[in-house]
Point group: C2
Amino acid sequence: MDRLSFWKEKIENRLRELFTPQEPRELFEAMSYYLFQPGKRIRPLVTVAVANALGGSQEDAITVGCAIEMVHNYSLIHDDLPAMDNDDFRRGLPSCHRKYGEALAILAGDALLTYAFEVLSRDGVFEELSPKEIIKVMNVIAVKSGISGMVGGQALDVGEETDLELVNRKKTASLFEACFMCGGLVSHREELLNELEEVGGEFGLLFQLTDDILDRDGFYTLLGEKKAKDKAENIYTHLLKRLKELLPRETEEIEALVEMVYNRIT
Amino acid sequence: MDRLSFWKEKIENRLRELFTPQEPRELFEAMSYYLFQPGKRIRPLVTVAVANALGGSQEDAITVGCAIEMVHNYSLIHDDLPAMDNDDFRRGLPSCHRKYGEALAILAGDALLTYAFEVLSRDGVFEELSPKEIIKVMNVIAVKSGISGMVGGQALDVGEETDLELVNRKKTASLFEACFMCGGLVSHREELLNELEEVGGEFGLLFQLTDDILDRDGFYTLLGEKKAKDKAENIYTHLLKRLKELLPRETEEIEALVEMVYNRIT
């Protein structure tokens, strides 16, 4: 088993541990529906990989990554709603509101977002993080997923903002910025936050670009295949260079994640 | 000016300070729309009143109360949505989704909930609270507003749960439990949390009962006017007794809030 599969299994197990059945049962099922469909778990993997490259606590990185995965999945539930993207299907299955109804899908998203903060503030959930570092982790996640980050990007998208890079930097890249920054925080390296934010933004933009090229959407439509692929290659090359400068050791995992994202279009 | 008006003005000012204009502008306006309509601010007032009765930090109580007010207002935005209560008006004005569209109303609720946690985790926002106490405050608010609290109650309501008291204990009373518990936390009295939770639940139930009697809805419909008023009187009497036992000093403010709620139906 390669390293990323090893961490992915740990992430799956931690998600199950953190997310124990609660009443009301149907709300809990709607909250779990996307979260436990098979997925790449790329956000928690990035968080763990950055922590490994900085010698941080792997256990704490997994827990933070799981909370970010909850935030990501709440955003998918709300994105799919009729008033938003109006998607009837996700990953070949009925979308959350098609399965559980629109009201419960709205509430499931709300509860999943809230649950991420419940987990992060739970007594004894972290091994090495100090209370101050825990608060900083929560602040990074809140800032990057709120009006100045992910939800802000979704609002720009809904408002038909024409600057596609701005929309994606907020809507998609913000949460990857949080992953990189939290990887630094669980490694007690707050002084690296600005640089980690920057490379996280590049990683997120690369992720969205390759997604768009695969789906012939977004950047692909705007730039055409050639220019979109050139842009992706430039970000890919620059990102690998920056990661080598920034991270002192064991960069294999984060590099493997960059390759995994980039190789989808090569 | 009476004491409650004095605190209410402080709460209004703090809300304005904490909630500074941000981009995207339209999302910020949708987030602000309910939050800055004239309201009772009863949740932050309760938080401050409990802190005063326990000798806690008034400034910190105001800040926590403002975060709870944000959570309350996000829930109003989502409650009004077509898939939920489908309300076109609130306080005589168009509801948030009628004014800003359904997509932006969903996102405004999401961003407002996230913003509450952003404020609570912001560097230097508290004067006296220790990092551990800040984390506990966030945990109480997350638990009481998530699946085991407010959102859980809304899901029961949507699912047509027939136990009206259970629905209202979660949907309405949970957030008042959080107010009482956080009033205790800003007073460094964690050992009182269970008892504060209990009286907070009674306060919340009294609030919902009197609301229902005024609106001829809920408990009024279920029990009839006489039984609903008797139930309210019983809770009112018991609550005042418990508050006197539990809180050592300056209980005038919290008692005035209980009177204010109860007197609406007398």
